[in-house]
């Protein structure tokens, strides 16, 4: 078992333990319908987590993901539904803005944490402009896609698996993925060997934006309407998801499969509490506690890793 496997073992274990606990308390959750309910909201969270992972991979951090996903959700619930051409145009332009932001952050040596914090205002403002009060409606095909009755496994399980596998091949197996992780590991070395780090960063941010767009669309497909604050929690959830999944803040060490598992774990944590009949006051707190516990356990793992 190499380091890579060891790294993914902990997220898998924590999800497994949590899932076992949920099944133990509520055996009826162990069904097609139950699983769909448990993991339904995990799809947009997983997409947002992948977006955050793309940014962390190139050594930055994005604090605007929540407001950007909200903006995308608002556009989906309004323009994409009424005038698809304009709607997709707006989303495409937003992706370009994101890529440009990545390029500027690198070219001017700016702190990503501050630029993205500033941009979170920008996206919130845009979201309010697009959809001043909660409302809108989901495009029919999106609604149908998110609530499709697929055979054997529900969409809520299939979608995260597809996301994880696709991104695994992109990040871990493609040469572009290696370059992007190289930017996180040692950007100077990548630049010296003749690559444009600016371009690579722009690309990473662009891919992140694409996943945010998908996340916003998935969210609207599930919620059938949107509002400007619909996904603000995603900023913190996505960071927590990447870290839970074995990702690191620096060095381009990330794991797409782990990130998706991390997102599922966080979503499940909320359901777990309601099964415990704990007051919803503690839901956020429990997510924090789970994060701390997993990281504490990881300490044991990393110590062993250091010995290996």
């Amino acid at each position: 078992m190499n380091r890579e496997h060891l790294r993914i073992l902990l997220p898998v274990l924590s999800l497994g333990i949590l899932l076992a606990a949920v099944f133990y308390m509520q055996p009826r959750a162990m069904s097609y319908f139950g699983l769909n309910l448990l993991f339904n909201l995990a799809v947009p969270v997983a997409l947002a987590t992948i977006a955050q992972m793309m940014i962390l991979m190139v050594n930055d951090i994005d604090l605007s993901i929540g407001s950007f996903v909200s903006f995308c959700a608002c556009v989906t619930a309004t323009f994409v539904q009424t005038d698809p051409v304009i709607g997709y145009g707006i989303l495409f332009a937003a992706i370009l803005v994101y890529a440009a932001m990545g390029a500027i952050i690198y070219a001017r040596g700016l702190p990503a944490i501050v630029v993205t914090l500033g941009m979170s205002f920008f996206w919130s403002g845009m979201a309010v402009l697009v959809l001043p009060s909660p409302g809108g409606s989901a495009p029919d095909w999106l609604r149908a896609l998110m609530t499709a009755k697929t055979p054997i496994l529900p969409v809520a399980i299939i979608a995260p698996i597809v996301i994880a596998v696709v991104m695994h091949y992109f990040v871990k197996r493609s040469s572009l993925g290696v370059l992007l992780r190289g930017v996180g590991g040692n950007e100077r070395a990548v630049a010296r060997s003749g690559w444009s780090v600016t371009g690579l960063k722009a690309f990473a941010y662009g891919v992140a934006a694409l996943f945010c767009v998908l996340s916003g669309m998935a969210l609207v497909g599930l919620a059938t309407s949107a509002d400007a604050n619909i996904a603000l929690r995603y900023t913190l959830l996505s960071i927590a998801g990447v870290i839970l999944g074995g990702g690191e803040f620096t060095g381009g060490r990330v794991s797409p499969i782990g990130a998706v598992i991390g997102a599922l774990t966080l979503t499940l944590a909320a359901s777990f509490l309601s099964f415990l009949h704990l007051s919803p006051d503690w839901q956020i707190g429990a997510q924090g506690a789970i994060l701390i516990i997993v990281l504490a356990v990881r300490l044991v793992f990393t110590r062993r890793e250091a010995l290996v």
């Binding site: 070219a107 001017r108 700016l110 309010v128 803040f249 620096t250 997510q287």
Partner: protein, 333 residues
Amino acid sequence: MNMINKDNNMQPQKRSARDFLELVSGKPWIWAFLAAGATYLATLLVVTNSAGAGALLYAALTFASFSVIVGVGQMFVVTLGPGNVDLSIPATMTLAATLSLKFMATDGALIVPGVLIAIGVGLVCGLFNFSLILLLRIPPIIATLSSSFLFQSLAIWSNRGVRVKPPELLAQFSTGGIFGLPNVALIALLVSVLAWCVLEKTIAGRWVLATGQNKRAARLGGVPVNAVRFVVYVGCAVLAGVAGFVLASFSGGANLNMGTEYMLMSIAVVVIGGSSIAGGNSNVPGIWGAALFMFLIVSMLNSYGLGAGVRLMLTGLIIVSVVVLASKRRHQI
């Protein structure tokens, strides 16, 4: 350096432009004040009467104070080096304000213990944060993030959506002022002067800077690195507790999302104020300039009669542009 500048200033006109440039390049915090001044003037284009101008300044000083108090704490944390940020400030503020106001239960006689409770909550939050960072070796961003979830839950649980009012006396004090200055601004001024003295004039301040510049070198040089980090994180949480207490007294009670905007604010004032986000190079005056700037932008956009959406958008764009302009170009494209 300062002496030379002073001498040059005495010569009339001739060298003032160059002096100015020298001053600007030597003092990164000048930009924040310039930006704040420009925004203030731009607002005055709309608010023409002189009473309005004074009131605007007064309001700016008041609201900047809360940002300054949390900003000073955040500045010390950021100074510790890359990856050091306290994201639990909003939750700590809310928790401290909720618990202390609940304890006082509008009884003016309990103000002193109330303040102590706010400080105590800050201490406990800071201790918890740092124990996660040191004992569990969790990266500070994630440690403070996950502990903020816990603090937030505690606050929700103890608050139960009720808005507890501050004691009358406290409310009067926090909304009042002396010498034409708001009382909260005086508190913030006191905090920032103390912080300036610590950072610039004491060994402890040098230790913080040294730790931020190179932790390993600092440790080898005999700096008690972990003790420094401990004090900085706990101090930051205590300041957040105090800020929460003052803000709740000022705004007529603690509520659950009172701290939300201070997550961005605390980081933004540090960076716009000219401190390096990579750590090891910080200054206190810039925090005031940036805090005033952040408030004045919002009020400028308000006075132009713009809607909430446009206002948010422009705030974001202006923050980003200031950061872009203030940066020194580092990479060739």
